[in-house]
């Protein structure tokens, strides 16, 4: 069984900007794969190349054994694309939008109608199916857009930052839908700049930076190699900070670090390890007042730092809605 997507020395430049710098990647079928990287790392360029929207400058790229440059139509028959914006027609109903795309995949009128009904149901849009899309919320539009990418039953779904710009609830709904697709046997390739999104959805995470693959593995491997969640705490009195670090050190669960700039003490806190309770109790016993304590996912920068020893070449996102598009 050969790879679903195979990139060899893939390069793409836009003027003086190198978006893909000799990318090598072999992705097996039957998975939800997340391409994880900061803004400008080449995620979108890679997905657009797979979708036959961009012509690579060098190297080779095949999808299901078909070359994207030489056999683009064969590739297009296998894929469904949902880009960064909801590419749906506002002045048509949800049902009409889906039926239009299904027709373009070559389905008859009847099966296009059946496929759009089924897709609407699957994405929880049945009740809104006959409403014009301009009355939809942002989350509903993104779900419909996802529907348009899968109404033709493609072998491989390409989702470029599917949840960027969505509110938390819509984000959860979309995650739910994507996970269900993966369980239903559809291959999914998605890009994201959020570690938690990749952890939640993907069975394979590919970290990329500056147009190259930095690392790849399952979420479990990722957690094992770079540590899991992180516990941050502030003491009420700043002078207590180093004493708190000493107490944490004494617990023997890892090496705490102190960030002097933010007056914060941090320690790794793997899920289900009970670190939070342990830390709070120990500090209480030592008579140290805690201002606040949080457990969070490591940032993308922390992951890169641990994996590669260097920070990301491109800056980690500060604006979640920021655009990764180079083209």
């Amino acid at each position: 069984m050969h790879a679903l997507i195979e990139a060899r020395g893939l390069t793409k430049r836009f003027g003086r900007v190198t978006a893909l710098a000799g990318m090598d990647l072999s992705l097996p079928p039957g998975r939800i794969v997340a391409i994880l990287g900061p803004n400008g790392s080449g995620k979108t360029t890679f997905v657009r190349s797979v979708a036959t929207l961009l012509r690579p400058d060098g190297g080779s790229l095949t999808v299901g054994g078909h070359d994207v440059v030489r056999e683009p139509q064969a590739v297009r028959r296998m894929i469904g694309l949902a880009g960064q914006s909801a590419a749906v027609e506002e002045m048509m109903t949800g049902r009409e939008n889906l039926a239009m795309v299904a027709r373009l995949y070559g389905q008859s009128r009847r099966s296009a109608r059946a496929a759009s009904d089924a897709t609407l149901g699957r994405l929880g849009l049945s009740d809104a199916g006959d409403r014009l899309v301009k009355t939809y919320s942002g989350g509903m539009r993104r779900r419909l857009d996802l529907g348009a990418s899968l109404v033709g039953s493609p072998r491989l779904l390409l989702l470029d930052e599917p949840t960027t710009g969505l509110d938390p609830r819509s984000r959860m709904e979309l995650w739910e839908a994507i996970r269900a697709l993966g369980e239903g046997g559809t291959d999914v390739l998605l890009t994201t700049q959020y570690l938690d999104e990749a952890d939640h959805l993907a069975s394979l995470i590919v970290l990329i930076d500056e147009g190259r693959v930095v690392a790849q593995g399952t979420p479990a491997e990722r957690k094992q190699r770079v540590g899991a969640d992180v516990l941050d705490l502030h003491t009420r009195e700043v002078s207590d900070l180093s004493r708190a670090a000493a107490v944490l050190q004494g617990l023997g669960i890892g090496k705490p670090s102190i960030d002097t700039e933010t007056q914060r003490c941090s320690i790794d806190a793997p899920k289900g390890s009970g670190v939070l309770a342990l830390v709070v109790r120990a500090l209480d016993d030592a008579g140290i007042d805690i201002e606040d304590v949080t457990v969070r996912h490591p940032t993308l920068d922390e992951v890169f730092l641990k994996l590669t020893g260097t920070a990301t070449g491109s800056h980690a996102p500060s604006d979640p809605a920021a655009d990764d598009r180079v083209a």
Binding site: G30, G64, R76, M91, M92, T186
Partner: protein, 276 residues
């Protein structure tokens, strides 16, 4: 049903069904553009009101000052010109629409589907040609309402209408190509305004003979003048022919040649742009 619809083959070489044929994809994509327009009544009302307003202004404000139309009443001189050039103002919408689709990612979706990329362009041209016919009919109706009359029989008048559709079709190619290159709907809109000098420095609204010599040289040899005069002679007959420089046997082939040239230049450009 759900399972049959969403099961995808698990062999890694499996390919989906072949995409829609050229005809089906053209009709499907064009259907969307027409639906979008028809469901936005503001567009139709605004377009009609604008056309009527300009026609009234030319007819009643400038009309009195325009002489040199020979035995032709100004309203009979004006309306054929106004109707023929209205295809340019309708076609401008195609540019903005195409640029909009590019920006919103709709074009990306279409380009990622297993259809001929030519059908994406084709569909936009045909859809906008249909909209042009609609607006031609409305503008012609307003023309009759303000006193325009045909003096050459119904047959040639219908031919004249058909010629307007041909010109509209040709300009739709140009505007679709412009929209693909423009980058944004705003840029497309500004590029489209280049049609203003083209329509005003022509025989559409005033006789070319009233312009300074150097301007006449341009006005006499640009496509709009040939197109307008073709329509004018077909609807008004001898009276129009006498007031213009040439006869129908000159203007008709010249205007058709211009139409063909516009398509021959715009179509490959549009295709190249979409392939990139």
């Amino acid at each position: 049903m759900t399972t049959t619809t969403f099961d995808s083959g698990s062999g890694s070489g499996s390919i989906g069904p072949p995409g829609a044929s050229q005809v089906v994809s053209t009709l499907t994509i064009a259907g969307r553009t027409v639906k979008k327009f028809v469901r936005t009544p503001q567009l139709i009302v605004a377009g009609t009101a604008q056309g009527a307003l300009f026609l009234l202004i030319f007819r009643y404000v400038f009309g009195g000052a325009v002489a040199h139309t020979g035995s032709l009443r100004y309203v009979d001189f004006l309306v054929p010109g106004f109707v023929a050039t209205s295809v340019l103002f309708t076609g401008m919408g195609a540019s903005a629409g195409v640029a909009d689709d590019l920006g919103l990612g709709l074009m990306d979706r279409l380009r990622s589907l297993p259809i001929s990329r030519f059908s994406i362009i084709d569909a936009n041209v045909w859809a906008n040609t249909v909209l042009t016919v609609l607006s031609l009919a409305i503008t012609t109706g307003i023309g009759f309402a303000i006193g325009f009359r045909i003096h050459n029989g119904v047959g040639p008048a219908l031919e004249a209408f058909g010629m307007c559709v041909v010109f509209g079709f040709a300009f739709c190619w140009l505007f679709v190509a412009l929209g693909l290159f423009a980058g944004s709907p705003q840029a497309a809109q500004s590029l489209s305004f280049l049609v203003f000098p083209l329509t005003f420095v022509s025989s559409a609204y005033v006789p070319v003979s009233t312009m300074p010599g150097w301007m006449q040289a341009f006005a006499d040899h640009q496509p709009i003048t040939a197109m307008v005069n073709t329509v004018r002679i077909l609807t008004e007959g001898h009276g129009a022919e006498a007031a213009l420089g040439h006869s129908l046997s000159y203007y008709l082939p010249v205007s058709l040649a211009w139409s063909a040239l516009i398509v021959a230049l715009a179509a490959p450009l549009a295709v190249i742009r979409l392939r990139r």
